[in-house]
Structure formats: C-alpha cells, structure tokens
C-alpha cells in the first residue's frame, strides 16, 4: 500500500536532486571553478603535505633567515629560516582538522538536539529552544573563549570550544527543517500508513533536510577556520612550533618591519580558503533549493 507513495516521493527527490545538480553545474561561474581549485589544493595539502611542500616545515636554515618571497622560497622564510610555504602547507592539517572537529561536534550535537526538539516537541522542544536562545545570546567567538578557559589552552581544546559554540546554529536549522519536512504530505501519509516513528524519521526527515544542513556545514566549516585561527592568534590555541595558520600570523607580527609577508600571506591564505569553501557551499545551497 505504502510503496507507491514512498517510491513517488523518492523519485521526486531524486529528480529534484539531479535537476538541481545539473542546474548547479550550469550555474558555476569562473570564480566557482577557481574556488574548486583552491579547495582541491587545500585538500591535497591536507592529505599529502610532504608531496607539496618544498622544505621541512620545522627545520630552519641559518643561511636564509627572514628572506622575502623569491623563486627559492615562494612565500619567503621566517625568523628561523623556515620556509613559510612549507609551514602553511603543513599547517593545513592542524587548521582544517581543528575545523573538522568543531563542525563534527556542532553538527552531531546540533542535529540530534534539533531532531529531538522538532520531532518530539513539548517539554523537550521548550528546553532545547531555551538552550539555543542562551547559546545564541553569546557571540560565538566569545562563547568559544569561555569554553577554552574552562578546558585549558591548546589546539584540540580550541577546536572543541568552537564546536560547542556552533551547536546552536545547527540545532536551530535542523529543528526548523524537521518541522517543515514533518508537515509535508508524504511524511504525514507514511505516518498514517503505519510507519514507525523512528523509521519515518530516518527514512524521510534526514534525506529531505540534509541539503540546508549541508550548506550550513560548509559555511560553518569556513567560520570555524576563522574562529580557531582567531583563538590561535590571541594565543589560546595551538602552541608553537606547530604551524597552525592563525599562529603563523601571530608569530609574524613581531617581524612586521622587515618581513610584512609573514603576516599578510598566512592571513590571505586563511581568507582565500574560507572564501572558497563558503562560495562552494553556497552554490550547493542554491543548487538544492527548489
């Protein structure tokens, strides 16, 4: 009995997806391809830093301390003669994994809370919504500072702090998505047709609400990079000599007279990476919105 309806809904979703994917590809502008290239390069730096980086990121070369960008050192060298490009490439892992940890925490906890609030409603919804209000009333960066004070400084703790600070955004979007999907005719139909609650949940709500959550995940990933590097910049994150991006900027400040590239280049790398990720996640979002 239920089969035709479910099939129909699945097909509709699939076709919408396929259509939107084609539409998304068709909509790609030159800048989007550039963003794709940046993200591809960043992923490569994450997976195989040794392949890309021309030098050892931790080994200094006394003969070339604080040299300006050149053919030998594209991004110049730092106060120990370490190659900045290699340090940025090797820092990709720490920086991006930190953001990944943050997003996994935000997405995981936020999704579960959002689902519970929207699906069960009642007291659960009241409590969770109030919690979201509380978390949202503290600006994210400030909230992550509070958590990092409680946990102690360090790369992982900064990532966890940023993750906790992003839970509210995920909870809220998941809750509203689930509420929307819950009201859709085919979901109500499958309910009436005797679908078990959890089954319905898994079968319909997840697939149908994932697109906007995915887009938020992309955006939040970019924002996490900025927040984590801000925490590192202030000295609350990864300790040296690890080449975390925000830390590179922070360390470069002392050499601004002779070597401004030590601040500007890592700063731009952060900006370009976040920009590319945000841009792509927006394409994704637009592509999935009917």
């Amino acid at each position: 009995m239920s089969a035709p309806i479910l099939t129909a809904s699945r097909d509709r979703r699939r076709s919408a997806e396929a259509g939107s994917f084609r539409a998304a590809v068709a909509r790609l502008e030159p800048m989007d391809y550039l963003a794709l290239a940046v993200v591809a390069f960043v992923l490569l730096a994450l997976l195989a830093p040794r392949v890309l980086s021309p030098y050892d990121p931790l080994a200094g070369d006394d003969a070339s301390i604080l040299t300006a960008p050149s053919l030998a050192h594209w991004f110049g060298t730092d106060y120990l003669g370490r190659d900045l490009l290699s340090r940025i490439i090797h820092g990709t892992g720490r920086t991006l994994l930190g953001s990944a940890v943050a997003v996994v925490i935000g997405l995981g906890v936020g999704t579960i809370l959002g689902l519970i609030a929207a699906y069960f409603g009642g007291l659960a919804d009241v409590i969770i919504s109030r919690l979201v209000d509380v978390l949202l009333s503290i600006p994210g960066l400030l909230l992550s500072m509070v958590v990092v004070v409680a946990l102690g400084f360090g790369a992982l703790n900064a990532a966890v702090a940023v993750g906790i600070a992003s839970i509210a955004a995920f909870t809220r979007i998941m809750r509203s998505e689930v509420l929307t999907v819950k009201g859709l005719p085919f979901v109500e139909a499958s309910h009436h047709l005797g679908g078990k609650r959890l089954y319905v949940l898994a079968r319909h709500i997840f697939p149908n609400s994932y697109s906007s959550v995915l887009a938020l995940t992309g955006l939040q990933f970019g924002i996490s990079i900025i927040w984590i590097s801000s925490l590192s910049f202030l000295g609350y994150g990864a300790p040296p000599p690890q080449p975390e991006w925000g830390l590179l900027v922070s360390e470069g400040r002392e050499y601004v007279v002779s070597s401004p590239w030590l601040v500007v280049i890592p700063g731009l790398v952060i900006a370009v990476t976040v920009l590319s990720i945000s841009r792509l996640s927006r394409v994704l979002k637009e592509g999935n919105t009917p």
Binding site: G60, D62, P240, E251, E254, Y255, V257
Partner: protein, 535 residues
C-alpha cells in the same frame, strides 16, 4: 535617476568612513623637545618595595635619585645624594654625608631624617599598611639622623655585602614623606611617587599613558654626568604598546621617538634605515639555564657536561642576534662585581659532548636518531621562557643544536601567568632559563641557588660546598674576599655543570635619528635626563 541614488548612497558611506581622517600633529616642542617613548609593557604599580617589573623600574629610575651612583662605564661607585660615605671594617655601620640643598618635587628637603625614614621603611616595610620589606635590603636596619640633618648613620644587625650596590639600584630611590605616609593603594599610583629626580609625573592614565615633565631647578645630578642642570626634555610621554607591530610601525611613521623591544632581526633592518639601536647588558646574572640533577638522566654529571658543550653560542648570536648581544662567558655578566670568564670550560665541542654521552651509556640510537640508554630516549624537558621576547627562536635554535648530539630538547610552552608556578614545580623539568640584572650579584646567586632562596637546583643540603660558599659571600665585607668567593661560586656552578650559561641578555631600544643623548643605566634602564629631541 537610478544612478544618482546608488551614487549618493555610496558617497554617503565613503564620507562617513573618512570623516575626520585628518591627522593632528603633536604640539611643537621647545628647547630639548618632547620624547614619546613606547614601552612594551604596562607599568602596573609604583609601590616602591613591591614593584619588580622592568617597566616600573624604568620610570622610578627617572623620577627618583639614589644615595650612590654606579657609573655604567667604569663600574665604580660615585657620590650622588650622599656626598661621601664610610663603612666600618666589621660591615655593620655605614655613615652617609648628604648633599645640601636637594629637595623633593613637593618642596620638602632630602635631609637626614628623610633618608633615615626611607632606609628603615625599605628594610622593614609597613605592617599597618600591608607593605612588605624591599627584598634587596638587609632586614633589621636602623638609622640615626644627626641634628644638622646632613649625616645619617646606618647600623645593620649582620654584615650585608651587597648593601652599597643595592643603594645604587632602582629600588632604592628616595621618596618624600608624603609617599611613605600615603596608603598602600595611593602608593601604587605613579602620580603619588614623589622623588627628587630630574622628572616629575605630570599625569597618569592607568594602562594608557604616563606623562613625565621636567623638574624645574634640578641641580644635583651625579658629578660624572655631562649635564648638571635641568633635564633637556620638557616632557616624556610613556605609552605602553603591547603589540610589537604597532610599536614598530609607530616608530617608522615618525610618531614615536623611542621604543623598547624589537626582534633582533628587526634591529638590522631599522639600523639600515637610519635608526639608532641602543642596547645594554645589565650587570647581574647572565641568561642561563640551570640543570636539575634530580631530573631524568641529569643525575650523571657527564650528561650535564655534555649539554654544556652542545650549544654553539657563536652561531646563535651570529644567525639570530646582532652586535647588541653576546655569548655568555660565565654565570655572571661581564662588568658585574666579581665576574670571572669561564667560557673555556663550556665551549662548543660536539666531539667532547658525544664522548661524554657515550661514557654515560647513551650509546644506542632510536629510529629518530636520538640517543637511548636501556631503551629510554635522552630527553631534556624545558619550558620556553616567557619573559624574554627572543626566547621562542632562541629555544628552537638550541633544540636544533641538541639534535646534532642525539639529544631531544622537549620544548613546552605556558602563558605568562602560569609559567612560574607550573614550570618550576614540574618534577620532570630538567632545565629552565634564569638570570636577570641585579645591582649586586650576591643577592641573585643566593636567591636562585641557596637553600635559603629558591633552591632551583633542588640539591639543598646535598652539596655542602655550594651552600657554604653562598652563605660566606653574603657575610663577607672585604672586597678581595668577596671577589674570591664569587670566583669560587662561578667555578663550582660551571664545573659541576649545574648551569649552562647561554647569552648576555640585552635590553634593546630603537630611537629615531632626531633623538640625541639617549643612554642606558648600569642596569640597562633608560635614562631620559641627557636626552634631547631635535626636529
């Protein structure tokens, strides 16, 4: 039509953003001009006995005068507020004859009663107000002022060799009764620090700015000073700028005249573009690492000695520092009372280090190339010094040199506020940086290495030789005897490889070309008295 609207909107925004961008130029200067000095830290408390930070001393140095003056070039003691002085042979009685006509900036005289009050206050603190004694001063000091207010006789309960040197230091600045009588909270404000020095605090905005103005009628500089009258500068504005980039940028833009702290690499770039780099090594203890025998692996003197030979100080100074810095040659800095050159004992010698480590049984190597013994890697744990702005690169460079001998230097980092408590309490820690300027070396040595002090080595009692030497130096009153004892202490600390001398630290200042006559005191504090700024 459309065009006009968005254009108007854009223009409005631009106007708002740039409104009032016109720069204001500082007021024109007269005679010696005005100096804008950008310090790297905030001067927190002016309270005399408790103020230990460098930035506080720098201000006290210029606001107060001391009884005696220690010539930075010759190292000799010279008269200042005390015209002459004598010490009894037993080291218990000192007599000071004061210069006539000296007054504090509130008009009260710097006389025998005032000096007596100052010295006793420094020695015993003020329980009622909760101010502690000055740690540099001997306790139980009593003084008698004679009736003509020109002579003070000081009596100590026990001989205290560093006494006269201490009287030259920043912490021994003489202050008016009004300051001593003020509440502790009032004493912590610079505007309430009333001295007889060449500058007076005109205004203070905590954490933002302290303005010093010239003391009118100042005429009691140390006799060796080229200037015997008032200071040249009409005003000195001291602004704490914690951001390195802002401090440097402000100097380069011409707004600042003088800054403290630059990275050594920046010194050269600045010198090349016409700035004056003024650096000084304060007398006292050199920048050194103590080695704790109780730490893992360091119980063996061969390992400690090997560590002394692994560090190539010349290479570090050459690659990362400038002419303002030099390799340490002893536990004490050159120019300090009792200094002996010990550098031959801990020269850079990788072969020697390797031989010592082999002898200590660290013959095997692990997959990373580090030496091991019984399967344990030779690791030396330290924390990066938070008080030295060049420490990060220095420690990392030493880490690289340790690798050459197969030793892992485990670098750990703590923030400013937790460093002291955590690093020094860590039982695993093998080496930490110590060594700072002191007007007299005895006090510093006892503070670090004596069982009565911090006992940084953690060997209180077990090395009786060291303890007896440290005790003897504090009681010795004869200069020859003190010199001999200090030499033995330096020998012992280096021979037992308790200490690795690293560098002779420098306080580095950079001044614009228009700043003239800027010099550092013997403790490497800035002296504004002889400075003038010409546009």
């Amino acid at each position: 039509m459309k065009k006009k609207i968005w254009l108007a909107a854009a223009l409005t925004a631009v106007t708002v953003l740039t409104a009032g961008c016109a720069a204001q130029t500082p007021a024109a200067s007269s005679d010696g001009g005005t100096l804008t000095y950008l310090d790297a830290e905030i001067a927190t408390s002016a309270q005399v006995q408790e103020s230990g930070t460098w930035q506080t001393r720098a201000l006290q140095q210029n606001i107060t005068d001391r009884l005696l003056y220690r010539n930075a070039d010759s190292g000799e003691l010279e008269p200042w507020i005390a015209e002459s002085w004598t010490a009894s042979p037993d080291g218990l009685t000192y007599t000071f004859v004061l210069r006539d006509g000296v007054t504090y900036s509130d008009g009260t005289p710097v006389n025998a009663s005032s000096v007596k009050k100052n010295l006793e206050w420094q020695s015993s603190g003020d329980d009622a107000k909760g101010t502690t004694p000055n740690a540099q001063f001997p306790s139980g000091l009593t003084a008698v002022a004679d009736d003509d207010e020109r002579t003070v006789v000081v009596t100590l309960p026990a001989p205290y060799a560093p006494f006269l040197n201490v009287l030259t230091g920043w912490g021994a600045g003489l202050v008016a009764d009004a300051t001593i009588d003020a509440s502790k909270e009032e004493q912590s404000k610079f505007v309430n620090l009333i001295g007889s020095g060449p500058f007076v605090v005109a205004s203070e905005t905590y954490g933002k700015e302290i303005v010093l103005s010239r003391r009118d009628g100042y005429a009691w500089a140390p006799p060796s000073s080229p200037n015997q009258g008032e200071a040249h500068l009409a005003q000195v504005t001291v602004i704490p700028v914690l951001e390195d980039s802002v401090r440097l940028g402000t100097l380069k833009s011409g707004e600042g005249d003088l800054i403290r702290y630059v990275q050594p690499s920046e010194e050269q770039a600045l010198a090349d573009s016409g700035y004056q780099v003024v650096a000084g090594t304060g007398v006292g203890l050199s920048n050194q690492w103590f080695l704790r025998p109780a730490a893992p692996f360091l119980g063996d003197i061969n390992v400690r000695k090997a560590l002394q030979h692994v560090i190539d100080r010349d290479a570090i100074v050459k690659n990362q520092y400038t002419g303002s810095w030099s390799p340490a040659t002893s536990v004490l800095a050159p120019g300090t009372f009792g200094y002996v050159d010990e550098s031959a004992k801990f020269d850079y010698d990788l072969d020697e280090a390797n031989a010592l480590l082999d002898a200590a049984g660290f013959t095997a190597r692990d997959s990373d190339g580090y030496r091991t013994k019984d399967g344990e890697r030779l690791v030396v744990k330290t924390y990066i010094d938070v008080y030295d702005n060049t420490a990060k690169s220095l420690f990392q460079a030493i880490q690289n040199q340790f690798v050459e001998a197969g030793i892992e230097l485990s670098l750990n980092e703590l923030d400013y506020s937790t460093y002291w408590a955590t690093a020094f309490a860590d039982p695993e820690v093998a080496a930490l940086r110590v060594g700072w300027p002191h007007p007299d070396p005895s006090k510093g040595l006892s503070e670090y290495y004596s069982a009565d002090g911090s006992d940084l080595l953690g060997i209180a009692g077990s090395d009786a030789t060291l303890q007896s030497l440290l005790d003897a130096q504090n009681a010795a009153t004869d200069d020859t005897q003190r010199t001999a004892l200090l030499a033995q202490i330096q020998d012992h600390l280096v021979d037992q490889a308790y200490v690795i001398p690293i560098l002779n630290d420098s306080q580095v200042f950079v001044a614009a070309e228009r700043v003239q006559g800027f010099e550092l005191s013997d403790g490497a504090l800035p002296e504004f008295y002889n400075v003038s700024v010409t546009d």
